[in-house]
Protein backbone atom coordinates (compact mmCIF):
# COMPACT_ATOMS: atom_id res chain seq x y z
CA UNK A 1 0.00 0.00 0.00
CA UNK A 2 1.42 3.38 -0.91
CA UNK A 3 1.00 6.40 1.35
CA UNK A 4 -2.40 8.08 1.19
CA UNK A 5 -2.96 11.52 2.61
CA UNK A 6 -5.66 14.09 3.25
CA UNK A 7 -5.16 17.69 4.23
CA UNK A 8 -7.77 19.84 5.87
CA UNK A 9 -7.74 23.48 6.86
CA UNK A 10 -10.40 24.26 9.44
CA UNK A 11 -11.52 27.68 10.61
CA UNK A 12 -10.55 28.26 14.22
CA UNK A 13 -14.06 27.66 15.55
CA UNK A 14 -15.17 25.10 18.12
CA UNK A 15 -17.82 23.74 15.75
CA UNK A 16 -15.12 22.48 13.36
CA UNK A 17 -13.39 20.12 15.80
CA UNK A 18 -16.02 17.47 15.05
CA UNK A 19 -15.16 17.77 11.34
CA UNK A 20 -11.48 17.09 12.05
CA UNK A 21 -12.45 14.03 14.10
CA UNK A 22 -14.71 12.80 11.32
CA UNK A 23 -12.08 13.14 8.59
CA UNK A 24 -9.30 11.51 10.60
CA UNK A 25 -11.48 8.63 11.79
CA UNK A 26 -12.76 8.04 8.24
CA UNK A 27 -9.16 7.91 7.01
CA UNK A 28 -8.18 5.56 9.82
CA UNK A 29 -11.09 3.24 9.11
CA UNK A 30 -10.61 3.24 5.33
CA UNK A 31 -6.83 3.10 5.09
CA UNK A 32 -5.66 1.13 8.13
CA UNK A 33 -6.48 -1.98 10.12
CA UNK A 34 -6.77 -0.05 13.38
CA UNK A 35 -9.42 -1.58 15.61
CA UNK A 36 -12.53 0.43 16.45
CA UNK A 37 -11.20 1.00 19.97
CA UNK A 38 -7.96 2.50 18.64
CA UNK A 39 -9.83 4.67 16.17
CA UNK A 40 -11.85 5.94 19.16
CA UNK A 41 -8.57 6.69 20.98
CA UNK A 42 -7.30 8.57 17.93
CA UNK A 43 -10.51 10.63 17.75
CA UNK A 44 -10.02 11.79 21.34
CA UNK A 45 -6.37 12.69 20.70
CA UNK A 46 -7.26 14.66 17.55
CA UNK A 47 -10.08 16.40 19.38
CA UNK A 48 -7.74 17.44 22.19
CA UNK A 49 -5.04 18.72 19.82
CA UNK A 50 -7.55 20.63 17.65
CA UNK A 51 -9.21 22.11 20.74
CA UNK A 52 -5.84 23.42 21.95
CA UNK A 53 -5.08 24.81 18.47
CA UNK A 54 -8.41 26.60 18.21
CA UNK A 55 -8.08 28.04 21.71
CA UNK A 56 -4.57 29.25 20.80
CA UNK A 57 -5.97 31.10 17.77
CA UNK A 58 -8.85 32.42 19.83
CA UNK A 59 -6.40 33.85 22.37
CA UNK A 60 -4.65 35.77 19.61
CA UNK A 61 -7.94 36.69 17.91
CA UNK A 62 -6.50 35.49 14.63
CA UNK A 63 -8.61 34.29 11.69
CA UNK A 64 -5.89 31.94 10.47
CA UNK A 65 -6.93 28.36 9.91
CA UNK A 66 -5.75 25.26 11.71
CA UNK A 67 -4.06 22.67 9.52
CA UNK A 68 -4.89 19.00 9.94
CA UNK A 69 -2.90 16.53 7.86
CA UNK A 70 -3.45 12.80 7.93
CA UNK A 71 -1.21 10.28 6.18
CA UNK A 72 -1.41 6.49 6.17
CA UNK A 73 1.08 3.98 4.84
CA UNK A 74 1.62 0.26 5.31
CA UNK A 75 2.78 0.57 8.91
CA UNK A 76 1.29 3.65 10.51
CA UNK A 77 -1.18 6.49 10.51
CA UNK A 78 0.28 9.94 11.17
CA UNK A 79 -1.78 13.02 12.00
CA UNK A 80 -0.24 16.48 12.15
CA UNK A 81 -2.12 19.44 13.64
CA UNK A 82 -0.59 22.87 13.23
CA UNK A 83 -1.66 26.19 14.64
CA UNK A 84 -0.35 29.76 14.51
CA UNK A 85 -0.87 30.47 18.18
CA UNK A 86 1.70 31.84 20.59
CA UNK A 87 3.00 28.40 21.59
CA UNK A 88 3.52 26.81 24.98
CA UNK A 89 6.22 25.00 26.92
CA UNK A 90 5.19 21.37 26.83
CA UNK A 91 7.86 20.49 29.42
CA UNK A 92 6.40 22.95 31.90
CA UNK A 93 2.70 22.14 32.12
CA UNK A 94 0.98 22.71 35.47
CA UNK A 95 0.73 19.58 37.59
CA UNK A 96 -2.61 18.53 39.02
CA UNK A 97 -2.92 17.54 42.67
CA UNK A 98 -3.51 13.83 43.26
CA UNK A 99 -7.08 12.75 42.52
CA UNK A 100 -7.62 11.97 46.20
CA UNK A 101 -6.84 15.61 47.13
CA UNK A 102 -9.99 17.81 47.41
CA UNK A 103 -7.94 20.54 45.72
CA UNK A 104 -8.09 18.40 42.56
CA UNK A 105 -11.60 19.71 41.87
CA UNK A 106 -10.19 23.17 41.28
CA UNK A 107 -8.65 21.91 38.04
CA UNK A 108 -11.24 21.67 35.26
CA UNK A 109 -8.68 21.98 32.48
CA UNK A 110 -5.28 20.61 31.57
CA UNK A 111 -6.28 17.00 30.97
CA UNK A 112 -5.97 17.12 27.18
CA UNK A 113 -2.25 16.59 26.76
CA UNK A 114 -2.07 13.74 29.32
CA UNK A 115 -4.95 12.09 27.44
CA UNK A 116 -3.16 12.42 24.09
CA UNK A 117 0.00 10.92 25.57
CA UNK A 118 -1.90 7.99 27.04
CA UNK A 119 -4.00 7.18 23.98
CA UNK A 120 -1.61 7.25 21.02
CA UNK A 121 1.52 5.29 20.15
CA UNK A 122 3.71 8.37 19.65
CA UNK A 123 3.22 12.09 20.07
CA UNK A 124 5.60 14.98 19.47
CA UNK A 125 4.97 18.62 20.28
CA UNK A 126 6.95 21.32 18.47
CA UNK A 127 6.11 24.72 19.84
CA UNK A 128 7.49 28.23 19.42
CA UNK A 129 6.08 31.73 19.61
CA UNK A 130 4.99 31.28 15.98
CA UNK A 131 2.80 28.27 16.61
CA UNK A 132 2.55 24.67 17.65
CA UNK A 133 2.67 21.44 15.68
CA UNK A 134 1.45 18.19 17.18
CA UNK A 135 2.44 14.96 15.44
CA UNK A 136 0.42 11.92 16.45
CA UNK A 137 1.27 8.40 15.31
CA UNK A 138 -0.83 5.27 15.54
CA UNK A 139 0.87 2.09 14.41
CA UNK A 140 -1.24 -0.48 12.66
CA UNK A 141 -2.46 -3.21 14.97
CA UNK A 142 -0.62 -5.96 13.06
CA UNK A 143 2.62 -3.95 13.28
CA UNK A 144 2.22 -3.70 17.07
CA UNK A 145 1.48 -7.43 17.33
CA UNK A 146 4.62 -8.17 15.34
CA UNK A 147 2.58 -9.75 12.57
CA UNK A 148 4.43 -9.45 9.30
CA UNK A 149 1.66 -10.65 7.03
Amino acid sequence: MSARAVQLEIPAGAEFVALARLVVSAMASAETQLSDDRVDDLKIAVSEACTNAIEAHDALETDERVLVECRADESLLEVRIEDRGSGFDVSNLPEHPPVTDPERLKFERGLGIPLIRALVDEVEFSSSDEGTAVRIVMRHDDAIDGYSG
Binding site: V17, A18, D37, I44, T51, I54, L105, L111, L119
Partner: protein, 111 residues
Protein backbone atom coordinates in the same frame (compact mmCIF):
# COMPACT_ATOMS: atom_id res chain seq x y z
CA UNK B 1 -23.84 18.76 16.15
CA UNK B 2 -26.74 17.83 18.39
CA UNK B 3 -26.44 17.56 22.15
CA UNK B 4 -29.39 16.19 24.07
CA UNK B 5 -29.88 17.23 27.69
CA UNK B 6 -33.01 15.68 29.20
CA UNK B 7 -33.93 16.24 32.83
CA UNK B 8 -36.15 13.96 34.92
CA UNK B 9 -36.72 13.51 38.64
CA UNK B 10 -36.16 10.14 40.24
CA UNK B 11 -36.30 9.14 43.92
CA UNK B 12 -35.04 12.47 45.19
CA UNK B 13 -32.40 12.82 42.49
CA UNK B 14 -32.38 14.98 39.38
CA UNK B 15 -31.30 12.87 36.42
CA UNK B 16 -29.61 14.68 33.54
CA UNK B 17 -29.41 12.34 30.54
CA UNK B 18 -26.80 13.49 28.04
CA UNK B 19 -26.95 12.40 24.39
CA UNK B 20 -24.54 13.01 21.54
CA UNK B 21 -20.98 14.30 21.47
CA UNK B 22 -19.45 16.36 24.28
CA UNK B 23 -16.54 18.45 23.07
CA UNK B 24 -15.36 22.07 23.06
CA UNK B 25 -18.37 23.08 20.95
CA UNK B 26 -21.13 21.41 22.96
CA UNK B 27 -19.59 21.50 26.45
CA UNK B 28 -20.74 25.09 27.19
CA UNK B 29 -24.42 24.05 26.85
CA UNK B 30 -23.80 21.07 29.13
CA UNK B 31 -22.07 23.33 31.68
CA UNK B 32 -24.88 25.92 31.54
CA UNK B 33 -27.54 23.24 32.11
CA UNK B 34 -25.72 21.86 35.14
CA UNK B 35 -25.30 25.36 36.57
CA UNK B 36 -29.02 26.05 36.00
CA UNK B 37 -29.98 22.90 37.87
CA UNK B 38 -27.77 23.77 40.83
CA UNK B 39 -29.20 27.30 40.84
CA UNK B 40 -32.70 25.79 40.97
CA UNK B 41 -31.71 23.99 44.16
CA UNK B 42 -31.09 20.59 42.59
CA UNK B 43 -28.16 19.42 44.66
CA UNK B 44 -28.34 15.66 44.12
CA UNK B 45 -27.71 15.08 40.45
CA UNK B 46 -27.16 11.94 38.41
CA UNK B 47 -25.54 12.52 35.01
CA UNK B 48 -26.48 9.64 32.72
CA UNK B 49 -23.75 9.26 30.07
CA UNK B 50 -25.18 6.15 28.41
CA UNK B 51 -26.31 8.15 25.37
CA UNK B 52 -22.96 9.88 24.89
CA UNK B 53 -21.12 8.94 21.69
CA UNK B 54 -17.97 10.95 22.37
CA UNK B 55 -16.49 12.75 25.35
CA UNK B 56 -13.11 14.47 25.62
CA UNK B 57 -11.38 16.51 28.31
CA UNK B 58 -13.74 19.46 27.91
CA UNK B 59 -16.56 17.15 28.95
CA UNK B 60 -14.52 15.92 31.89
CA UNK B 61 -13.96 19.55 32.88
CA UNK B 62 -17.70 20.19 32.92
CA UNK B 63 -18.25 17.21 35.21
CA UNK B 64 -15.40 18.18 37.55
CA UNK B 65 -16.81 21.73 37.73
CA UNK B 66 -20.29 20.35 38.41
CA UNK B 67 -19.03 18.12 41.20
CA UNK B 68 -17.13 20.99 42.79
CA UNK B 69 -20.23 23.22 42.63
CA UNK B 70 -22.49 20.56 44.12
CA UNK B 71 -20.10 19.66 46.93
CA UNK B 72 -19.99 23.32 47.91
CA UNK B 73 -23.76 22.92 48.51
CA UNK B 74 -23.26 19.62 50.39
CA UNK B 75 -24.65 17.86 47.35
CA UNK B 76 -23.29 15.21 45.05
CA UNK B 77 -22.96 14.34 41.40
CA UNK B 78 -23.15 10.68 40.43
CA UNK B 79 -22.44 9.24 37.01
CA UNK B 80 -24.02 6.43 35.03
CA UNK B 81 -21.76 4.92 32.41
CA UNK B 82 -21.03 1.44 31.10
CA UNK B 83 -19.39 2.31 27.78
CA UNK B 84 -15.73 1.31 27.81
CA UNK B 85 -14.70 4.09 25.41
CA UNK B 86 -16.13 6.72 27.76
CA UNK B 87 -14.95 5.03 30.97
CA UNK B 88 -11.45 4.91 29.52
CA UNK B 89 -11.00 8.70 29.71
CA UNK B 90 -12.04 8.64 33.38
CA UNK B 91 -9.58 5.82 34.07
CA UNK B 92 -6.63 7.47 32.29
CA UNK B 93 -7.15 10.74 34.13
CA UNK B 94 -7.71 9.07 37.51
CA UNK B 95 -11.20 10.54 37.76
CA UNK B 96 -12.72 7.13 38.52
CA UNK B 97 -11.46 7.85 42.06
CA UNK B 98 -13.23 11.22 42.14
CA UNK B 99 -16.63 10.23 40.75
CA UNK B 100 -19.01 7.51 41.84
CA UNK B 101 -19.85 5.69 38.61
CA UNK B 102 -22.81 3.31 38.36
CA UNK B 103 -24.10 0.91 35.71
CA UNK B 104 -27.69 2.14 35.82
CA UNK B 105 -29.72 5.12 37.00
CA UNK B 106 -31.53 2.75 39.39
CA UNK B 107 -28.22 1.77 40.98
CA UNK B 108 -27.16 5.41 41.28
CA UNK B 109 -30.34 6.67 42.94
CA UNK B 110 -30.41 3.62 45.20
CA UNK B 111 -26.87 4.17 46.44
Amino acid sequence: MDLGLDVTERDGYTVLAVRGEVDVYTAPRFRERLIELVSEGKHRIVVDLEGVDFLDSTGLGVLVGGLKRLRSHDGDLLLVCTQSRILKVFEITGLTKVFSIFDTVDAAVGS
